[in-house]
Subunit: 191 residues, 2 copies
DNA sequence: GATTTTCATTGACTTAAGTTAATGAAAAAT
DNA sequence: ATTTTTCATTAACTTAAGTCAATGAAAATC
């Protein structure tokens, strides 16, 4: 279970067995059932989650009560309310399981201590956030300057094989368009 | 000149005088004149830039020859083609000076060496990229789910006092809307 | 200082996407 | 197994934003 995460980390840094064991000490396995929440708006957030199995969505609810999906997370993805976590403010996001999930929770307090003892982890998360930043830049370019039809196709590159795991309504919401509009796109694409 | 950057860095980590001197050794001051380029599409990128003075834009040109502005950078901002830099691929972006600029260039090869000698820098850039990632998430939320009118107002929070430094055409392009549409927004807002 | 280029704005028209409403199919709940 | 809820799709209509074209003002260039 935890080995999946260690393999993920070892793609960027090399840990000794002792370091791996120390890291295992600050992560905890959690089960999240379909339709239940990992984070709800208003709570304080002090964990980062790595998805071992399952599918989740991060969304916020605006003043009019409309949901807006910001992110999905499937196997090998990270998810949390990053803004709340890093700025110590109450969560704005809901993180809800779309399927029954297994995640690994990392407490950031423990992680901060680990950074001091093993700076390699600082390196790992530097690389992780750099990559996440670059991926989001591409998403910004795409959302501002590409047609919805192309953005729909790009979505499947970003979340491979997610078709049967989330509804078209979810995908439309993530893309910031209506389900009806997505439906027309699918028709025009012959899907 | 370089002290501005050191003050910026010392907001997140504490450097000794020796470490500051060592860091100064890997940064170089560069002047960029209005309408000239820091990066052009197709070149290899190996520097990260911190803006001491002036204003720049990062844009790409699509298949139809249309420009799309992804980012502005003013004093105390960082800019480069992050994707090209971190993945060692040719630049997709142009980074062009809108005003005569003074920037500090940091070679990433030298920076990588510095990370090993002084892991605190790894920490600094972890925090920097984390904050950049969080800021981009907010931008994604905004671009997908807010009205253009609100996004126009948010733009000025993000780039304070930029009004007289960039044209409305630039702002419209950054927001992914037409200059005419922005004009109507300004009219409706009584601007 | 004169000329050229860029910029902001407006109007008329077109197009893409949102809204509302209805339907049968699929999935979930009991 | 039956009922209830959610989901995908379609159509008719509305709205917001894009396109095209023209104008004077402002800025940049010579």
């Amino acid at each position: 279970m935890k080995d999946l995460l260690l393999a993920h980390i070892n793609r960027h840094i090399s840990l000794t067995n002792v370091e791996e064991e120390e890291f295992k000490g600050i992560i905890a396995e959690k089960k999240v059932f379909r339709k239940s929440f990992l984070i709800e708006s208003g709570v304080m957030v002090n964990e980062l989650y790595y998805v071992v199995e399952g599918c989740l969505k991060a969304y916020y609810v605006d003043d009019l009560g409309n949901k807006h999906i910001l992110q999905f997370a499937i196997e090998d993805w990270w998810i949390t309310d990053f803004n709340a976590l890093h700025n110590n403010i109450p969560a704005e996001l809901y993180i809800e399981a779309i399927e029954n999930c297994t995640v690994l929770a990392i407490s950031t307090v423990a992680l901060e201590e680990l950074y001091i003892r093993i700076p390699k982890f600082e390196r790992f998360f530097r690389i992780l956030y750099t990559n996440a930043f670059i991926a989001l830049r591409k998403r910004v370019m795409s959302s501002l300057h590409r047609t919805n039809s192309i953005r729909y196709l790009e979505f499947f590159e970003r979340y491979p094989n997610i078709e049967r795991r989330v509804t078209n309504y979810h995908i439309a919401n993530y893309l910031g368009i209506t389900a009806e509009s997505l439906c027309r796109i699918r028709r025009d694409l012959g899907m």
